[in-house]
């Protein structure tokens, strides 16, 4: 399963109390949805551990196995952004990842600014879906 892009498969946004707020999957991941989501979920423990010691929001690669790699970003408010990529993809530098997470954080801020959104509930948002689509297409 080698795809030409950056290999991003899944993006998930998890709240401070580990409530799943939003997740998006690329088309490539449609056959392995459970596997990828499980991987993202499993890496949350490591994200928590790293976040306590972190000096910046971007945590870098937090976890990997023979199929997937996982990158994470934690906002100062404790919201976790997790990006799962194919382990074979090479084309992701830290600066690119920072830009991607910044974009996601931006979209997340816009999404929760919706006055009809109840804080802590799963998010439905056009902003986030669009942002994710762009990231997957890169």
């Amino acid at each position: 399963m080698i795809n030409p892009g950056n290999g991003a498969l899944c993006i998930s946004i998890v709240g401070k109390e580990n409530a799943r707020l939003w997740s998006g999957l690329s088309d490539d991941a449609s056959r392995v949805v459970c596997e990828v989501e499980l991987f993202a979920h499993v890496s949350l423990d490591i994200v928590d551990e790293r976040a306590t010691k972190a000096t910046e929001n971007y945590l870098g690669q937090v976890y990997s196995d023979h199929l997937y790699k996982c990158f994470a970003y934690v906002s100062s408010t404790g919201v976790k952004f997790v990006l799962v990529t194919d382990s074979k993809s090479q084309g992701l530098r830290d600066s690119e990842m920072r830009a991607i997470f910044k974009k996601l954080h931006h979209a997340y801020c816009n999404a929760i600014s919706n006055p009809f959104y109840v804080v802590g509930q799963p998010i439905k948002s056009k902003h986030l879906t669009e942002a994710a689509k762009q990231i997957f297409a890169q």
Binding site: K16, T77, G78, C109, S113
Partner: protein, 180 residues
């Protein structure tokens, strides 16, 4: 001089008061009738979730929560309690109230006092002690904003405003628990 926000805030307060008046009409009269003053004030306190102050505070809470998320997005990571308080007093205060706070004091045991000598929500009142009581409700929304921002950054706190002389306000922030 009034900022657009001040005008909106005045209307919010007015709306809050109107809403409270409507809610009061719904209060169970059979319960309130024939009670002496002390007991009925207690009953009113029990029904406080519908009063104007609580309402404005909860609007502020949501606003502060979102603003904190939005503002700390472009800043380096904020983690310790002191860093959070500095963020509130500098970046947050500037973008919400248009100026830095004038004084921040702490007893290092979870109590912070933030002093603002010219608080923008109160500039439409004439200075002095005459309208201190009337001004109280104009501080509910700002209190909620501060509490919401602290909550977003992981601190549960109790925020109470005190004012002796307009337009200067002291916000007492009692930190209850730090969520980690």
């Amino acid at each position: 001089m009034s900022l657009p926000f001040d005008l909106l805030h005045m209307e919010m307060v007015r709306y809050g008061k109107e809403k409270e008046a409507v809610a009061r009409a719904d209060y169970p009269k059979e319960v309130l009738e024939g009670l002496d003053k002390a007991t009925s004030s207690l009953v009113y306190k029990a029904l406080a979730s519908r009063n104007a102050e609580t309402n404005l505070e909860s609007i502020g809470l949501r606003t502060g929560f979102l603003l904190a998320e939005r503002l700390c997005r472009d800043l380096p990571r904020i983690s310790t309690e002191l860093e959070i308080m500095k963020f509130i007093c500098k970046e947050f205060w500037i973008s919400v109230f248009g100026k830095q706070v004038d004084n921040l004091r702490t007893n290092h045991q979870g109590v912070y006092v933030v002093q603002d000598n010219r608080f923008p929500c109160l500039t439409s009142f004439s200075d002095g002690t005459q309208y201190v009581k009337d001004a109280a409700i104009y501080l509910c929304f700002p209190c909620g904003v501060v509490r919401g921002a602290l909550q977003a950054l992981g601190i549960q706190a109790l925020v109470t405003p005190t004012t002796d002389q307009l337009p200067s306000v002291k916000f007492h922030i009692h930190i209850k628990t730090k969520l980690t």
